[in-house]
Every structure is written in structure tokens, then in C-alpha cells.
């Protein structure tokens, strides 16, 4: 018979057996027994954040840059409610997280006790699954199940609510190998007949395109390798969603750039004009499809996804393939070779020629000038000066995020961490902290805007405490840039509340936190500042004062089709954005 342990000790043992080496958290009354157990051991390292939302984003950064499950520990009530934004963020972007929340003792649940919140009720739609553990003997089993659910199938956040009396109670431990989930067994291997149909359709294509997404990244590095292999052996052009950047190398000539609202001209027009679309691990999100009724008209669509509920949700497809991207790609490559398939060479050649003419538009061009730092130029310099250093990039949300997606090249998966689905301002700094914890020697850059960074600025303190040399690269245009851009284009330039009034001096702010603060106000200062930022082995905040008026192009206005893409400020929409487009976010 195994020895008796307290709930808190069982929890730590379970985490250790799940391979957890780091946990992001913030203590409080309802988790004190767990913090006491953490204190008495050295296997699980705790990173103290400054706000519970940041604990989840840090765990997301950790998870996305390693492929492992990120782990969070927060207290009851406000600890749990503060974590909710992070949980929804992880849910929308399919990031595996296990979040442990303290809860008031079981006999007080429902009594409106101090720091009580109905955590499982609040987080039910914010998680992939959640648990309330009422008996200590269920604790280890629940933790193992939670990790299994978080990482299996389409990954996501799982929450375990732990009443304080359960943390104190004595019980027995259950090892992970003794736990098998009763019901949850997502399909990872595809039906071969479906893959064969897909291969036949691809082989008949004249204008094929691979539209890849976060599912390829989530599947693991093998999926990215297989994607690259399949794309190269077929010579099919590749585009990707915001979430999928890095799955296919940006330096490859077959890479068209990102698709969607701020995607490249060539990627969007190729999507619009294709005859066979191969969706690999993407979900036909509204940022990608634009106007649904005009989305890739006349194309046949194959949708490969691990989540059956993603299929036919927004766009009806011709061949659905349920499975994990790596498994499906393996079968696709095998069948393609076995059947000695080949695409129509002449058709493919003219398709590439067509793409070449779209490419020659040079959609990411912008007005170069010596007078002011253009945000795009700042990112081009960041790109050049970090070349060969294999940087990890996180972002906040807004114009800077889209520019980063357009201008920074990703050659490998797990290097790009951005809040895609939920669009959470304040994501980038804590995420960068999580990435840096996982990769202590790597160059980790948070491309930020001056508005977004203020949303979790307190995490500079965390970076300093753990000596994490994260780089916060603020493209400071003194506006909530994307809000201003929409107001300019859609609301008659009435800039309602989008000016960043009363900004702090970011250099002094950095210094006050114990970071290094740098500023670039002119083009000739920029390279020196970026170099200094890279070479400083401490947290650095860089205030890059950029052109205040610059807008992010290309842009497909809400409710418009891919071929109605705007290339620049002089490109006016053919007609006013329709009413139904205005209401879209």
C-alpha cells in the first residue's frame, strides 16, 4: 500500500510525473498548502508573475515554443477570474495549458465565502474541460486526465479547481500509467479512403494551393517537415494563417506569405483564384475568408483537421479528412508516391506565372523616407540585425502584430507566438517571459505597440526578478494604431478615444523596473539601438518612435472578398464598405 500524502503533495508529485519543470503562478489564501509543498521541493520551478492573466500567457509562450503543456497555479476568486482571459486565449488558439486554481474549502462552496467564485462555472466555456476535485483520492487521477485532455486531439486549456481542504487532506497517489480516460479518444489517424480521394483531387488540380494553419504547428515539428516535403515534391504554392507561420520556411520560393485580412496580395489572390484548396490544420476563420459568399469561388476544397467540429463550420468543403496533420501528411506523401501522381506541368507553370505577376505588385512596399522611422522599416532592420540568431518572436495585438507577421520571416515552427483567435492586447510580454524561461539562451523579442504593452507592463518586474533578457521592441506611434486605422477607413476619421494620451517615458519606465531602456527617434539611431538591444543580456525596452500616420496594408476590409484587397493609402475601396461589412469586427 502506498504511503499517505497530503493533497498538495499529491499534486506536486503528479505534476512531476507529467514532466512539469516549471509552473507560472501567483499565491493566495486558497493555495497556500500548495505553495508550502512547492517550497519543500526542487523539481518544479515556480515563476512568480505579477498578474494572473500574465501567468497564463507565460504558460502559453512556454507551451507554444516547446510543444509541451504549460502549467499555471493561481488562487481562488480574483486569482481565477484574472486568469480567464488567458484561458480563452489558449482555447481560441488551441494551446495546451493546465491551470490549477485554489478554491474555498468544500464545506464553504456556495456560501459566498471570502475570495470565492464559481470557478468551474465561469471557466466552463473558457476551457476545453474543467474539474472540481472534491475528494483527495481523485486528485492524482484528475491531474493526469487533465494533462491528457490538454495535449490530446485539438489541444486546449484545462482547469482544475482545488478546494483548500482537499489540499490538506491525506490520500493516496495514483501513477499516470494507471489512468486511462473513459471517453476522450480523438481520431488522429485519417480514413485512408478520404486521403485517397484528396490525393486524386490534388493530382487533377490546375491551380492548387496549400492553405496551412496552427494545426500543423500543434501537430509537432514532424508535420512541418512533412508539409515542406509534400509542397516541394508537388510544387504547390503555400500560404498560411497567422497561427501557422513558421510551419513552412519563409525563405522558400514556394512561400506566398500570409493569407487573410492583412495577408499578401499574392496569397489572397491565389486563394481567390485556386481550383483546389488544401486546408491543412486551419479553420476558415473570418480573418482569412473575408466575404464568405465570394471566398475562393469555383474551387474544390479539402479540409484536414483534427477537430471534426471545424469541418463545414464556416465553409462547406468537398473532402473532409479528420486526423492529425502529421499522420495525414504521411499518408498523403505515401499515396502520392505509390500512385506516381504528378500535377499537370503546363497548368502549374502558368499558375506560377500568374502568381509571379501578383508577386511583382510588391504588396508590402511602403513609402521609404529618412525623415521618420517607418514601422515597417524598423521591422526590416530588426529582421536584418537578428538574422542567423534564430529569434523567438511574440507580439501584442494591433498594427505592429500584422507588420511583424508580414515583415519577419519564420523558417521553423514554434518561433512565433501571437494571440490570433482572441486578439489579446497584453499577450506579448508575458508570453515572451514564458518563451525565455523555456529557452534561456535564445533571443526573445516581443514586438509591441505602446498601447498594448501597457496592458501587462507590470511583468517587466517578473523579467527582472528571473534575469530574463527579453527584448520589448515597441513600435510607438502614440495611437491605438489598428483602432485608428479602422476609424480612418470606416468611421470618417473620427478618432474616438484612440490616441495614446499621457504615455509614460518608456526609457525611464524601463529603468524604474530595473530594465534597460533605449530609444530611437530617427532613422540613423535605429540600427545602433537594435544592436545594443540584442547585445544586452538583460531585459530591454526599446521605444521606437515611428511614423504616427502609417497604416497597415494590404488590407481586405470587413465584408469584402479577397480580390477587393486594398494595397495602400491611395487605394480606395471600389464602393463604400457595405452595412454587413461594417458590423464585422
Amino acid at each position: 500500500m502506498s504511503e499517505k500524502l497530503t493533497g498538495a503533495e499529491i499534486l506536486i508529485k503528479a505534476l512531476r510525473d507529467q514532466g512539469v519543470d516549471v509552473i507560472f503562478g501567483y499565491p493566495g489564501g486558497a493555495v497556500l498548502p500548495i505553495y508550502d509543498a512547492l517550497f519543500k521541493q526542487n523539481d518544479v520551478r515556480h515563476i512568480l508573475v505579477r498578474h494572473e492573466q500574465a501567468a497564463v500567457h507565460a504558460a502559453e509562450g512556454y507551451a507554444r515554443s516547446t510543444g509541451k503543456v504549460g502549467c499555471v497555479l493561481v488562487t481562488s476568486g480574483p486569482g481565477a477570474t484574472n486568469a480567464v482571459t488567458g484561458l480563452v486565449d489558449a482555447l481560441m488558439d488551441s494551446i495546451p495549458i493546465v491551470c490549477l486554481t485554489g478554491q474555498v474549502p468544500t464545506h464553504l462552496i456556495g456560501n459566498d465565502a471570502f475570495q470565492e467564485a464559481d470557478t468551474t462555472g465561469i471557466t466552463r466555456p473558457a476551457t476545453k474541460h474543467n474539474y472540481l476535485v472534491k475528494q483527495v483520492d481523485q486528485l492524482a487521477r484528475t491531474v493526469h486526465e487533465a494533462f491528457y485532455v490538454a495535449r490530446t486531439g485539438r489541444p486546449g486549456p484545462v482547469l482544475i479547481d482545488l478546494p483548500k481542504d482537499v489540499q490538506f487532506a491525506e490520500g493516496t497517489y495514483t501513477a499516470p500509467q494507471e489512468v486511462r480516460h473513459k471517453t476522450y479518444r480523438p481520431q488522429v489517424k485519417p480514413e485512408i479512403a478520404r486521403v485517397e480521394e484528396a490525393i486524386e483531387l490534388i493530382a487533377s488540380a490546375k491551380r492548387p494551393i496549400l492553405y496551412t494553419g496552427g494545426g500543423v504547428i500543434n501537430s509537432g515539428p514532424l508535420a512541418s517537415q512533412l508539409l515542406t516535403q509534400f509542397a516541394r515534391m508537388t510544387n504547390i504554392p503555400v500560404t498560411s494563417t497567422l497561427m501557422g507561420l513558421g510551419a513552412f520556411p519563409a525563405s522558400d520560393p514556394q512561400w506566398l506569405g500570409m493569407v487573410g485580412m492583412h495577408g499578401t496580395y499574392e496569397a489572397n489572390l491565389a486563394m481567390h483564384g485556386c481550383d483546389v484548396m488544401i486546408n491543412l490544420g486551419a479553420r476558415f476563420d473570418d480573418r482569412v475568408t473575408g466575404k464568405l459568399s465570394a471566398f475562393a469561388p469555383g474551387s474544390k476544397k479539402i479540409h484536414i483537421d483534427i477537430d471534426p467540429s471545424s469541418i463545414n463550420k464556416n465553409v462547406a468543403v468537398d473532402i473532409p479528412v479528420v486526423g492529425d496533420c502529421a499522420h495525414v501528411l504521411e499518408d498523403m506523401i505515401r499515396i502520392w508516391k505509390a500512385r506516381q501522381k504528378q500535377l499537370d506541368k503546363a497548368a502549374l507553370k502558368s499558375w506560377w506565372a500568374q502568381i509571379g505577376t501578383w508577386r511583382s505588385v510588391d504588396c508590402l512596399r511602403y513609402q521609404r523616407t529618412d525623415k521618420v522611422i517607418k514601422p515597417q522599416y524598423a521591422l526590416e532592420r530588426l529582421r536584418e540585425l537578428t538574422r542567423g540568431r534564430d529569434p523567438y518572436v511574440t507580439t501584442e495585438v494591433g498594427q505592429h502584430q500584422m507588420w511583424a507577421a508580414q515583415f519577419l520571416p519564420f523558417e521553423q515552427p514554434n518561433r512565433w507566438m501571437t494571440s490570433g483567435g482572441l486578439g489579446t492586447m497584453g499577450y506579448g510580454l508575458p508570453a515572451a517571459i514564458g518563451v525565455q524561461i523555456a529557452h534561456p539562451d535564445a533571443l526573445v523579442v516581443d514586438v509591441a505597440g505602446e498601447a498594448s504593452i501597457m496592458m501587462n507592463i507590470q511583468e517587466l518586474s517578473t523579467a527582472v526578478q528571473y534575469k530574463l533578457p527579453v527584448k520589448i521592441f515597441i513600435l510607438n506611434n502614440q495611437w491605438m494604431g489598428m483602432v485608428r486605422q479602422w476609424q480612418e477607413l470606416l468611421h470618417g476619421s473620427r478618432y474616438s478615444e484612440s490616441y495614446s494620451e499621457a504615455l509614460p517615458d518608456f526609457v525611464k519606465l524601463a529603468e524604474a523596473f530595473g530594465c534597460v531602456g533605449l530609444r530611437a527617434t530617427s532613422v540613423d539611431e535605429l540600427d545602433g539601438v537594435i544592436t545594443q538591444m540584442i547585445e544586452t543580456r538583460r531585459p530591454v525596452v526599446v521605444d521606437v518612435c515611428v511614423d504616427q500616420k502609417e497604416n497597415c496594408f494590404p488590407m481586405i476590409p470587413g465584408g469584402k472578398a479577397h480580390n477587393e484587397i486594398l494595397l495602400g493609402p491611395d487605394d480606395k475601396p471600389g464602393q463604400a464598405t457595405p452595412e454587413e461589412g461594417m458590423v464585422l469586427v
Binding site: G121, R124, H129, K182, T183, D307, P308, K313, A316
Partner: protein, 168 residues
């Protein structure tokens, strides 16, 4: 052209654990699906399984989404679309209280006999009828009682099962 709205009866086998019904209901409200009827009860005490029967409506694409979304919930074992899978039986139970005296009271009792509704409580001024049947039959009977002193109705919602030997 308006897309065709279909009505479907879906059976869902779930772990009978705290919060499972909230998950199902939250899914419908959170994603804007309709619930026309929903019933739930434990059907296997040993394995702690409950069966939820939900009647919903939507376009074919929405119905498929509903099933996929239900199937995605972690405590869900099985999702079956009885409407799609062929012949099945749907039944509902209602308790119907009618108050009145004289001719109306006699007429209520007469109709109850025709509809095979059972008297489960009687006073000198009221009856409670129990009636089981297809939804339409219940609707018809309750409609008639409305004119004869109906004061209260409690309905269970639909329970459904497929015809033939196959299990869920």
C-alpha cells in the same frame, strides 16, 4: 432562397458528472443553437451514464455542427441523430391539472378517457391527469383542457429511442 430549417432529435450519452448538463446547455446558448426540448436522466447507475435527449432545429450545416460540437465535449460518449438514423419513437409525459365543476368537469373526464389520460389525483373540484404520448397528442389534449378549466401543466420533454434491436 432561405435555407431549409430541419428539426432533429439527438440522443447524447454522457458521464453523469457534476456540470455535464451545464456544458451541454452552455454549448447551445453560447453558440446560438435552439433547444426545443431537453430531457436528462441517469440511465446506467453502475457506469454512471446519463442520456440526454435534445430536440433542436437549424439548417443542415447547423445540425451537423451541433452534433460535432456535442461530440467534442470531453464527458460525451456518444451522439446519435435519431431523425437521420431512421425510425424511432418519441414520447413525452405530461401532468395536467384541470379545475372546475358540473358539465365542464364531466367533459374533461370524458375527453381524458378518449385520449387515454389517467386520473392520478382527484378532488371535488379538480383532476390531475397523467398522459403519455407523442407530442402532438399531448398538445391536442392540453388544447382541449384549456377550454375546460386547465390551471397547470407540467411536461417532461421528449424521450426518444430508435426502433429495432440496435442500441445507442
Amino acid at each position: 432562397m432561405d435555407p431549409i430549417i430541419e428539426k432533429h432529435t439527438i440522443s447524447v450519452l454522457v458521464d453523469n458528472e457534476p456540470g455535464v448538463l451545464a456544458r451541454v446547455i452552455g454549448l447551445f446558448s453560447g453558440r446560438g443553437y435552439n433547444i426545443e426540448s431537453l430531457t436528462v436522466a441517469e440511465t446506467d447507475a453502475e457506469q454512471k451514464l446519463s442520456r440526454i435527449t435534445v430536440v433542436t432545429s437549424g439548417t443542415r450545416m447547423i445540425i451537423e455542427q451541433i452534433k460535432a460540437q456535442l461530440d467534442r465535449l470531453v464527458p460525451v460518449h456518444k451522439v446519435r441523430d435519431l431523425t437521420d438514423e431512421g425510425p424511432h419513437i418519441e414520447r413525452e409525459l405530461a401532468l395536467i391539472k384541470v379545475a372546475g365543476t358540473g358539465e365542464r368537469r364531466i367533459e374533461a373526464l370524458r375527453l381524458a378517457d378518449i385520449f387515454k389520460a389517467r386520473v392520478v389525483d382527484a378532488t371535488l373540484t379538480s383532476f390531475v391527469f397523467e398522459m403519455t404520448g407523442a407530442v402532438d397528442e399531448l398538445d391536442d389534449f392540453i388544447g382541449l383542457m384549456r377550454q375546460l378549466g386547465l390551471v397547470d401543466v407540467s411536461r417532461t420533454g421528449i424521450a426518444a429511442i430508435s426502433k429495432g434491436p440496435a442500441a445507442l
